[in-house]
Each structure stands twice: as C-alpha cells, then as structure tokens.
C-alpha cells in the first residue's frame, strides 16, 4: 500500500516545490516590473524639458544638442523610445533630424552591438529599434539574422526593420524574396512592409514590376493599390496578358483604374475572363468609360455567378445615364434570381436619394430616371417591390 502512495508523496513534494518557486518568481517579477514602470515615468518627467526642447526646434535649421548630463542606460532607453515614437509620426526634415540625433547619441551603435547578443530578447529588441532608427548600416546584419530565423512573427519584425532601414533597392528585393521563400502567400503583408521603405517607391516598384519572379511582381502590384501612376501603364499593359492568374487579376485592376481607353474587343475579352476579379474590375471600369458596347455586356454580367461582378455591373449601369438605368429596370422586372435581386437593390439605392440633389443637372438626371422607374414599377413609389429573401447567391467574397 505504502509503496503505492510513495509516488503520490513525490508528486506532492514536487508540486509544493514548484508552487513555492512560482510564487516567489511571481512576486519578484511583479515588483521588478512595477519598479521599471516607475523609473520610466520618473525619467520621462526628468527629461520633459529636453523633450520640449527637441520638439520646439525640429523645424529650425540647427543641429539638436544631445540630452544633458550623464545618463543611466534606463534613461537612454526612455529617450530613445521617445525619439522613435516621433520618427514614426514625422517625415521629411523633422525625421532626418531625429535620426541624426539617435546616431549622435550612440543609440544606433549600441543596438548594432546588441544584434550579436546571446539573448534572443536583446536581439529582437535591437532589431526593432534599428528599424525605428532607420539604421542603414545594420542592414547586412539584419539580413543575416533573418536568414537564421525560423519563419514566424519575428521574421516579419526583422523584415520590417530591413525595409525601413535599407538604402539599396537590392537589399529590399532580397528581403522580399526571402519572405516569399517561406511559401506562405504573404503578399499583402509583404506589400505593407515594402511601403515602409525610405527609397523612392515609384522607381522601386517599377524595378520590381520587371522582376522575373512573379511573386515579387505581385507584391508590387498589391502595394500599388490606390496609387496607379501613368508611368506604369505600359508595364501594366504587358502584365495584363500575364500567365500567372493572380498577377493578371491585380494588373487588370490597376490598369483599369488608370482610366485607359479600351477597344471594344478588349472589353469583351476582359468581361469574359475566367477570373472573377478581372471581370469585376472590368465591370467597374465600364461605368466611367461610356463605351458604346458596354450596356449589353453589363446587362449579361448581371447574371454572373459572382456577386462582385453583378454588383459592379449594376453600379456601372446606374452610371450610364437613362439607358443604363432602363436596362437595370428591365433586369429587375424580367430577370430572375441573383440578377433581379442585384438590380432591385441598386434601383432602390438610387430612388432613395430622392430630394438630396442640390444641383440642377443632378435633379434633371434623377427626374429622368424617376420617369423610367415609374414606367416600370408604377407610381406608388412608397410601396417598394421585392422581399427580403436570399434567392440564390454565392459565397465568394
């Protein structure tokens, strides 16, 4: 019997030991953390005047003095953290001045040394700070560290630091290629990282667009969202015919957003692409193009299996004057399933804007549409057609 309990006794002692150790550790950590916190507040207060001084003279054409007095390392951390906060908020001269200050104060040098620290904590902290201080001299070391690190959140932190610091486009390219090499489809994250660069992003992206690696091309396409620049149009034109379906979809989206003039057969081709993203982008672009053949194409796209394509088509039809609106009404009356639903929704949206039109032209346009509407649905506008029912649909998002 007792031999059986023996195990249990051992178990109890082990538990007791671990609990005691745990509680001691717990209190020690708490006290230490609270002390650190207090120190930080104290130092922030102590250097308040200095911080005011720095902020007051960021715009002047002067070199900023270093913080006065002999500083403990904790104080240096506080000052460095404050500088980095500012660096993230500002650009232009103000940022340059702060970067110089960090360099003059020896913060950069200190953290480069910390990169080869044995403690992982210190290394990652240094990586983060070097990125914050845009330390171009640390890039080779950062790259090496990135190569040694297993893929995970830390990789992203290092990649960001490289993107922030690097002054050569080659380094950024290598970093991005490394990110892609993990095969995790992180193009969006990579694009966000890429946008942190200090280099001229336009020329950097043009370089990446010509890169043989389709992954890099995709990253730069993604990064270009919302900033289509005319200079890119020829390159985009080439990429529209790309074999890679992701690349093609992204390129078409960007290409169309630059309002190019399209030939009728190009339009037809795009509207029949097997990638829904391409069709959706094309449907959207047709709204502002006023091309002759658009309306029938859009009308048939209302029956598309993809919601985005349907929705964009309806939106574009609504933009194409009376005739487009009439097509919508027709679809709402005679169409079926998703096409009808999409059309109805769009019509309701337009009609609900009644009375919001201040300018005469808008009013005129609206009244024309109202006439069409009344012709199709009768005069009792208050009694809206259709019910809330999920007639068909799709799940692509």
């Amino acid at each position: 019997m007792f031999s059986n309990l023996e195990m249990a006794y051992v178990f109890i002692y082990v538990c007791l030991g671990l609990i005691a150790a745990g509680i001691i550790l717990l209190f020690q950590m708490k006290i230490k953390h609270n002390a650190e916190q207090r120190d930080m507040e104290r130092f922030t207060k102590k250097h308040h005047d200095y911080f005011m001084y720095v902020q007051s003279h960021l715009h002047d054409d002067v070199t900023l003095e270093l913080p006065p007095g002999k500083l403990t390392s904790a104080e240096r951390r506080v000052i460095q953290a404050k500088c980095m906060e500012w660096i993230e908020q500002f650009k232009g001269d103000a940022r340059e001045k702060l970067l110089q200050l960090c360099r003059d104060a020896g913060f950069v040098e200190e953290d480069i040394r910390a990169l080869s620290s044995l403690r992982k904590d210190r290394r990652i902290e240094a990586v983060y700070r070097l990125g914050g201080m845009r330390a171009e001299e640390a890039v080779p070391q950062l790259q090496e560290l990135m190569n040694r690190t297993k893929y995970g959140p830390m990789t992203i932190i290092i990649a960001r630091a490289i993107a922030k610091s690097a002054l050569q486009s080659q380094q950024i390219r290598e970093m991005l290629a490394k990110l892609l090499s993990y095969d995790k489809a992180i193009h969006h994250m990579a694009a966000d990282i890429l946008l942190e660069t200090r280099l001229d992003s336009a020329s950097l992206m043009r370089k990446l667009l010509d890169d043989p690696d389709p992954g890099l091309v995709k990253i730069s396409l993604v990064a270009m969202w919302g900033q289509a620049i005319p200079a890119f149009v020829p390159t985009l034109d080439r990429l529209v015919g790309s074999e890679e379906k992701d690349v093609r979809a992204e390129a078409v989206k960007l290409y169309l957003s630059s309002n190019p003039s399209l030939k009728d057969d190009t339009i037809a081709q795009l509207m029949n692409d097997h990638e829904w993203e391409v069709r959706a982008a094309a449907a959207k672009a047709l709204g502002s193009l006023h091309a002759a053949g658009s309306i029938p194409l859009l009308a048939s796209a209302l029956k598309d299996e993809n919601w985005h394509v349907r929705n964009n088509s309806a939106e574009s039809l609504a933009m194409l004057g009376e005739q487009g609106f009439e097509t919508l009404c027709q679809a709402a009356l005679t169409g079926e399933g998703p096409a009808r639903e999409t059309a109805l929704y769009r019509i309701e949206q337009i009609m609900s804007k009644e009375g919001e039109h201040e300018q005469v032209e808008q009013m005129v346009a609206f009244n024309k549409r109202k006439l069409v509407y009344d012709r199709y649905f009768g005069l009792q506008t208050s009694k809206r057609i259709g019910t809330v029912a999920g007639v068909g649909g799709d799940y692509t998002a």
């Binding site: 308040h48 005047d49 200095y50 911080f51 005011m52 001084y53 902020q55 007051s56 003279h57 960021l58 715009h59 002047d60 002067v62 900023l64 003095e65 006065p68 007095g69 404050k82 906060e85 500012w86 993230e88 908020q89 500002f90 650009k91 232009g92 001269d93 103000a94 940022r95 919302g226």
Partner: protein, 268 residues
Amino acid sequence: MSQSATLQRVQAVDFYGRLEEEVREHSQGTALLFLYCAGDSSGSEAELSEVQSFVDQLSGDNGKVLQDANYGVMAITLPGYSLDAAHYQALLLKQHLQGRLGEADPRITLAALTETPSMQTMKQMAESTRLSTSSDIHIFTQEEADREHNRILIVDQDATVREFLQIRLAMQGYETLEALDGLEALELIAKWEPDLVLTELNLHGIDGLPFIHHIQQLDVKESPKIVVLTEKRVEQTISQCFQNGVDDYVTKPFSPVELDARIRRCLH
C-alpha cells in the same frame, strides 16, 4: 567677472531701463531669458549667485544677469545665442538650479530677439514668467505678443502627437486646446468655438466620420474648419471624409512644415 559679482538689486524702473540698455547693445542675435523661482526661496541671494555662476561658465562672456528687486524676476541676456541654443541653456540652467537648490521651482520664459523689444513686451514677458502656472520652459514669440489668435482644437488619443502639435501650433501663435476623444471634443467645440479642428479619425467614444458629421450639426455661430490628420490611408475613407465637408486630409507620418502650410491655407 568682477563687474557682475558686484551686481546690485535694482529698482523696477531701473530694471527695465538697464535691461533695455543691455539688449540694445547687442540688438542683433541676442537671446533674452526671464527666470522666476516660485516657492519660498524666490529672489534669494543664493539663487542669484547660482544663476550668475551658471552664466559665467558659458562660453562668450557677455552674458548679463539682472534682477527686479520688487518681484524677484531675473533677466538674463545671452548675446550670440540663437533660440534653440538658448533653449538648451535654459534647460541646463533649470537643471542646475534644481540640483543646487532642492526646493527651487524655476519658471523660465525665453525669446530670441531680432530687434530691440519694446518695454511693454519685456514687461509682458516678465509678468508671464512670474504668473506662469506650468514649470515648462516657455518660448515667447512675436505672434504671442500680437493678440490675434486663431483657435485650434487638437483631437488625438496619442499623447505624443497631441504634445507635439500643441508645442508646434503654439509657436506659430495659435491658441490651442486638446481633447482625447470625440465626445470630449464635441463638448469643447460647443463651448470654446475653435476656428479649426485638427483631428485623428481613429478615436475613442465615437468614430471619425460620425464625429465629423456631429461637428457640422453643432449649434455654433460658425462651423469650424476640419483638418484630418490620421493613420488611415484607405481611399474610400478619404473620399467619404471630403464628401462630409472635411477641409483637408493629411496622413501620418506627416511633415510638420507641410501641416503648417495646410492649416494656414485653411484658415486664410
């Protein structure tokens, strides 16, 4: 420095007279500091000599210390010092005094002179030093002397950003107030009626777009101009902002110089 060692306390009239003389002598590129120690030790001998010894050890030996016997306000001239250099010396001086005289609570106002200031301006500076409620070193600008201020309300949850904008805009001669979140801001706008609201979109309590909408619904004489300064770079949000009557949209990270220009353009 025998001449300064024998320095006497001077009467009020004489104080400004001598100060003016001093300033006129180096009318170009002189920094002028006013210092007042709040608390018991104000105007004591110890304090004066500490200040004197601090000024003495500065390079360029033309610095002068004068004290107004009535109030204990000290004036320090630093010929050849630009505003930033004088600011830095002021903070060293403050640290020096705090280190030497434990209980001292120095209030400092400083200005870089481009021409001899009027007696009136100097009195104003001395007065504001003496009556100052904050222990921050205050930079006195020409704009502050002219009493035409536009009011700007800064709305941001980030204390770092608020502090910077406050310093920056105050130096441009704007009157500023800060609000941490949208709801507080709405109250302040109704009460204080600022000319311009500089706001982040990412706020506590109420989201950016509804916040902007609410500002325009407020029952104030003149709706304030709205400049958005935000992290958000989503195209849709930007266009929604402009549709809602926002006057300008600046994304972070921002260039302070550019922000100044945009604000000026909005107000004029």
